[in-house]
Symmetry: C2
Subunit: 318 residues, 2 copies
């Protein structure tokens, strides 16, 4: 089953009252640098500081009353944990979040701040999944996967849908790819609302599972995982992979150095705070200028949740 | 002679096509923290990254044709240098900027990038003034002072004028104070467009000339100068001091630690890049919560030109 145009419209309408319609920024300087017109879709200004609230909100709002009463659950150390905690609070239900015990304190505090119940576990995927399974068995809560879920994908499609509405005639849209929720949503929004637009994906060199998966035709793990773009270290999923395989124009990798260089430009020129995962998209455009020259290109900034001490380290070391 | 309502309107109309009408941001989190409603006027998104372009543009656009032909000149190592260089280019004349030879390379590059002619000098006030005098004698260029000039003050008043137009019924506006150009402009805008609004000024503890000047009734130097808010190290001037003395509600000092704490909140919650001088205003509100509780307070962010390596150091050390 694939998501229809109506599914995407319904998801956007359903979540509209709970999310920001984020602004689209431009910069004459960056246009000159890229040799084309760039439109930055700023999900760093979104609720909880990242696009993830869109999918989480859509998933929670789509639950039956019975299911909603028992709450929602996930394992995550990142933006999805905050998103689900926030979404659950908005609809008046409980969120159970399984987090690795070595999660950054700032992220734990944010999830707690939204009123979620946290269960700590060992920092391994197995421990996370077992911890989650135990919570679900005990509470009857519904698992909300961070990306491999059609309700999540439909929610994330709102980013590109808004961008297409605000900037007609885009030649390209660039989205980052981690688990593929945002990228799948972007691809489906483009398919239904702006079929002539090409969608490119940006992936860190140090988490190159998606380029590899496209080449082999099945879901692969990255050859090695080592990147500052901590939101993009995940493999693709059963639901996101086929959509990406069918619709994406091209996936390009960018190095951590290229990511930090793009971040620096954004901080200095746009005067906004973005996280490393966000900067992959601008890095891609600047790395492949000839492909985007004299065109209108939408660049998605996925979020702005960066630890300021990490930031200091990044700008010093690259 | 004092600036009339008509002077301020004329300055705003004259410069409108050359500047951004900057956005006003809000944050539910920061409202809760402050116990009132805060409206952030974001001059970090202004052309050249700071409000200074408003005054420079108004000064340059107000010159006679004869004077304009000979160019404009100033000494500055900061945002005024960039502003004057940019303004001169916009109207097609030359800018001569005297800069201390130890100026940050990024600032020198920015001034050069706008096509100004730079004369380097020893990093003392005397050398700067002598260097400027020499340039003016040689070229016949008109001196544009960074703040102690009614055309500059009239230009800077646009910040508060726009804020008042966008957010009716403000109880307070907070501006930073260095030389007093922005503060004087803010005070005059409030006097003419929103006389019931109170204006407070934020000054770094390590550049406390303005609080001292108000106490003694004459222009004073700071007891010592040591602050990260590099835009606010200047003394008041002959034109700015009387306006401030007559109209300001109160000047409060804030420490460098309080400035960095406020910066951190802005980066983390508003996801925007501001320079230390900007953060003094939010720091003031959070330091004197009881005075702004349950009120509508406009907080001016003066600019966003911060060296990212300095930034790293700040967030690490405070």
């Amino acid at each position: 089953m694939e998501l229809s145009k109506e599914d995407l419209v319904a998801a956007h309408d359903r979540t509209r009252a709970y999310i920001h319609r984020t602004p689209v920024l431009t910069s004459r300087y960056l246009d000159e640098l890229a040799g084309g017109n760039i439109y930055f879709k700023c999900e760093n200004f979104q609720k909880i500081g990242a696009f993830k609230i869109r999918g989480a909100m859509n998933a929670v709002l789509s639950l039956s009353k019975d299911k909603l009463e028992k709450g929602v659950a996930t394992h995550s150390s990142g933006n999805h944990a905050q998103a689900l905690a926030y979404a659950a609070r908005e609809v008046g239900t409980r969120a159970f979040i399984v987090m690795p015990e070595n999660s950054a304190r700032v992220k734990v505090d944010a999830v707690k701040g939204y009123g979620a119940e946290i269960n700590f576990c060992q920092p391994t995927l197995q421990a996370r999944e077992e911890g989650l399974q135990a919570v679900i068995e005990k509470t009857g809560a519904t698992l909300i996967h961070p990306f491999d879920d059609l309700k999540i994908i439909a929610g994330q499609s709102g980013v590109a849908k808004e961008l297409i509405e605000d900037v007609p005639g885009l030649n390209n849209i660039i989205a980052p790819v981690g688990g593929g929720g945002l990228l799948s949503g972007t691809l489906l929004a483009v398919k239904h609302f702006s079929p002539k637009t090409k969608v490119y994906a940006a992936e860190p060199e140090g988490a190159a599972d998606a380029v590899l998966s496209l080449r082999t035709g099945k879901i692969e793990s990255a050859p090695y995982v080592d990147t500052i773009a901590d939101g993009l270290r995940t493999n693709l999923g059963e639901k996101t992979f086929p959509i990406i395989q069918k619709l994406v124009e091209k996936i390009y990798t960018v190095s951590d150095k290229e990511i930090v260089d793009a971040m620096r430009l954004v901080y200095e020129r746009l005067k906004i705070v973005i996280e490393p995962s966000s900067a992959t998209t601008l890095a891609l455009v600047l790395k492949h200028k000839e492909e985007f020259k004299n065109q209108k290109t939408g660049v998605i900034f996925s979020g702005g949740n960066v630890d300021l001490t990490d930031l200091a380290r990044l700008f010093r070391n690259y």
